[in-house]
Amino acid sequence: MKVAVIGGGISGLGVAYFLAKLGAEVEVFEQKYLLYGASGRNSGGITAQFMDKELIEMALRTMKLYEKLQSEIKFNFLLRKGGYLKLSDNPRELEKEVEYQKSAGLKVKFLSPEDVKEIFPDINTNAFKAASYFKDGAVIFPWPVIWGLAKGCRELGVKIYDWTPAEVVSETEVKVKNEVKKYDVIVNAAGAWSAEINNKLGIKNDLRVVKEEICVTESLRPYIDPYIIHSNGLYLSQSMRGEIVGGIVGKAGEKSLDSSLDFLVKYAKLATKLVPKLRGLSILRQWSGVYDETKNGKPNFGFTGKVFQLNGFGKNGMSLALAYAEKASKEIMKS
């Protein structure tokens, strides 16, 4: 089984790793450097608080896989399990969500602002009305995840070509540096660039690109346990390096990687409203990223002809991609 994977992000390297373990011959093509795409630009929030049984199962499996792969590859992903807090201004809607997730077997709790204060004392209880708390939620540092997966892949004989744009010219052919190479299966794991590949091959898809901006403060000794996301779009968490990483959920349409002052001002207002004590912290750096999402919020997954779709993870790639990559590897080997 000879497989080409387009995209060196978490889904591409993930599927390459699992395929190699099953004995496939795998080549990964990354148009830029590893971490150029959404896998290198996200805030590392890990949760299973989804409104779909399959997504919940896949998220729980992904969490297990992080721990398994860390020891298997011998690479520290800087995974910190401090819980995941979804704050909302709409308690009724959130309570319904929590009920659904509980019925699906997820250990999630509906909390009042006062309850949240016990988990994170610096939070402003006037800045939200209710919360959903998933205590097994975590924060992971995306950079070592990708470096670790790449190391694991190489040790299994996977060839990773970075700075190598690859043009998918047919369902089984990839053109690299004017040479056409043939494969049994091509995996489209190109994140925000997946739709372009599909469109060129005439494969229907409803993928759309979302741009999101994000920033990071100077480091404090780690003290914020949970990853926090608010229904107004704000999210923030503290990495194991101590920086406070935060952003605002993006909107579909734009594909640039520009950073704006508008974002920074909006973020500063929302973040200091939610956690007033942060007001003296300085922003060191801001950036943006692009990801691809589907209309129903589930990944674009499975064979379309000989091309395997492993994209459309939306903003949940870090929470979902590894389990879907594992599942993809099994389906590809069976084909």
Binding site: Y33, D162, A268, Q286
Partner: protein
């Protein structure tokens, strides 16, 4: 003697050389593997040293290696200034 290259992340010349030898041979990958150029100085204090070491180890010119994307803000800015909340 330990030659410190990046003060923010406390990286020595040996640390950088070790990363290059592991295969992190372009400036963007080296940044994301070592953390150099991502601290409070945002590369202003360390990037030239790192370019020199990369150039010496890979034989590429500094122009060929290029520089990393310069991220805003140029100097750290406190959140209360950005939010316009002076109280």
């Amino acid at each position: 003697m330990r030659k410190v290259v990046c003060r923010c992340e406390d990286l020595s010349e040996e640390d950088i050389i070790h990363a290059i030898e592991l295969g992190f041979k372009d400036i963007e990958s080296l940044k994301r593997f070592t953390g150099a150029m991502t601290g409070p100085c945002q590369g202003k204090g360390c990037m030239m040293h790192i370019l020199r070491i990369l150039s010496q180890k890979t034989g590429k010119s500094v122009e060929e290696i290029g520089v990393t994307t310069q991220r805003q803000p140029v100097n750290p800015v406190p959140l209360y200034i950005l939010s316009g909340d002076e109280k």
